[in-house]
């Protein structure tokens, strides 16, 4: 770059520094993510799995190999996918609403996906075929998208969308409560409650393959909104005057979030606050640019999820702590702190 303004060498550094910072943060997160992924595969459990890294060792320990490839690997992959989904959609949602307190759960899709899965459990269909449970979740997410579309329409303001999402979320939790109320047995009720808490335990490649297409489609839509989100930094009027189609940006974020988060909830249950915390923590590393924050938040979400699940799996004793409980335990106080800080900044 040959930019030189007499007496002002500063801008040259300014151009490069944010990009460099974002790339460095991305590489650091990726490195931590890889380390955690490896740890997630080999750490903990009764059986030492690390000898299996030697080529040909699989034949000597078929059970260990099975644990590694059919239990640990899909679980770790799901942690990456779900974490990346929550981080990415959280960053997009905060960019769209221009509010650091926004969360992908805001549009009610996660509650509806949870309801879909709860209904499968309630009617005892989960016992018929294991894949019916995540399918129910996906169905719930789809219904949510249709209702959102009907309530908020094509040309919806952000406020209408949030209110529609709130209505949807309230309705979904009411129906979930109803299902619990009329649960055929205490055991069924417990099953529903435990599922809602959110966990990555006992998931298989079936869950990965079921969720992956929707997550990939959702992520593609979300990444397509980056220019629009950057422009929205200047407000809606200025964004429009910069040639951004705001309806398109809104549609990309809402549909992308609904697809990917709906799929995530379908396979894991509700895991809250990741989409709120991750973008907020990483925003300075993206130099506050929404477009740079999106990929960083995907990486950050994957890292947080891998780390949290590893902690849950290795540190909790007989009764495994649910992942959704842990993220809520960290996320709740974080939200309060964030609220206090934002309030102070707004004064």
């Amino acid at each position: 770059m040959t930019v030189l303004v007499s007496g002002h060498p500063l801008p040259v550094e300014l151009v490069r520094a944010p990009r460099r910072r974002a790339v460095r943060a991305g590489l650091a997160l990726a490195a931590v993510g890889i380390a955690l992924f490896i740890a997630a595969l080999f750490a903990g459990g009764e059986r030492a799995l690390w000898p299996l890294v030697v080529p040909g060792a699989a034949a000597n320990d078929p059970v260990g190999w099975l644990i590694l490839t059919e239990i640990r690997l899909p679980r770790a992959l799901l942690a990456v996918l779900v974490g990346a989904t929550l981080g990415l959609s959280g960053a997009a949602m905060q960019g769209l609403l221009r509010n650091p307190l926004a969360d992908p759960g805001l549009i009610g899709v996660s509650s509806m996906a949870a309801l879909g899965a709860v209904l499968v459990l309630y009617f005892g269909l989960a016992g018929v075929a294991i894949w019916l449970l995540p399918l129910g979740g996906l169905g719930g997410a789809l219904v949510a998208i249709l209702i959102l579309y009907a309530l908020a329409g094509r040309d919806a303001s952000v406020l209408t969308l949030i209110l529609a999402g709130l209505a949807l979320g309230t309705l979904a939790s009411a129906l979930t409560s109803l299902a619990l109320n009329f649960a055929p047995s205490p055991y069924a009720a417990l099953e529903i409650v435990f599922w809602i808490l959110g966990s990555l335990a006992d998931r298989s490649f079936m869950h990965v393959w079921l969720a992956l297409p929707f997550m990939a489609a959702g992520a593609t839509l979300l990444m397509g909104s980056r220019k629009g989100l950057d422009a929205l930094t200047l407000g809606e009027d200025a964004a429009h005057s910069l040639g951004v189609n705001l309806n398109r940006t809104r549609l990309l974020v809402i549909l992308g979030t609904a697809l990917s988060v709906g799929a995530a909830v379908s396979v894991t249950g509700v895991i809250g606050f990741v989409g709120l915390m991750v973008p907020h923590l990483l925003r300075p590393w993206a130099s506050f640019r929404p477009s740079a924050l999106l990929p960083l938040s995907a990486l950050g979400g994957a890292v947080l999820m891998l780390g949290a699940d590893l902690a849950v799996r290795t540190l909790s004793g007989g009764q495994e702590l649910k992942l959704g409980v842990v993220t809520a335990l960290i996320g709740g106080p974080f939200f309060v702190l964030l609220l206090l800080k934002t309030r102070r900044a707004m004064r």
């Binding site: 500063l10 300014l14 200047l234 200025a238 910069l242």
Partner: protein, 260 residues
Amino acid sequence: MTSLTVRDLAIDLGRRRVVDSVSFDLEPGSLVGLLGPNGAGKTTLLRGLVGIADTTGGNVLVDGVALAAVPAAVRARQIAYLPQGGQVHWPLDVFHTVALGRLPHQTPFEGLSEEDIEAILRALEYTDTLGLAGRPVTELSGGERARVLLARALASEPRILLADEPVAGLDPAHQIDVMHLLRTLVQRGNAAMVVLHDLTLAARYCDRVLVMNEGRIAADGPPDKVLTQQVLEDCFGIKVYLSRAGGELFLVPTARSEAV
């Protein structure tokens, strides 16, 4: 060279007609002041000229082509709009705030080109904000932020600039700077339309002023023909002290007229 032709434009907000039968031409090389009391429809008119506010009737033509038929990306490169009292929602540094003005010129997945960076630096220099380049935009004073946002609008190197109160909140020195800058822009063959509340600034720097009142254009022409006691009394409900010094017009509002 790009010109804007407006014919019988009408814009409704809800049931209220906010802009009514407005016609004018914005020619290359002219700096047009848009004056009028609060609520006269100035902002709505500007929003209509960039396609933000839906028009109810009439036409806006960009070089003879209907505005609605111009692709958004092309329009964004030709016409820049600086909203009134603009906010910046994230604490971006000043450089990258101004860089947002280059979005219409950028293709996806490409960073800032050398051309982009030069345009940004020029815009920073014009608006005397180069020294602020590394500061978070949210920590600037109101006047500094107004200049940075003007730089953002200029960074796209538009042929037409529509600016809503670009000098509001600026100290006198920077008000003069901005008006000089606008003059320089139009001397290079661009066109600018700016909402102003300072009658003297409008009189001294604009080639032409449009005075709006209740959605209509009440007067249109060179400042010394338009800014008369009668027009100002009719539209603003004020009495002004008018004076000339060194060939320039000075207007000082002195009192509300009794009729209002």
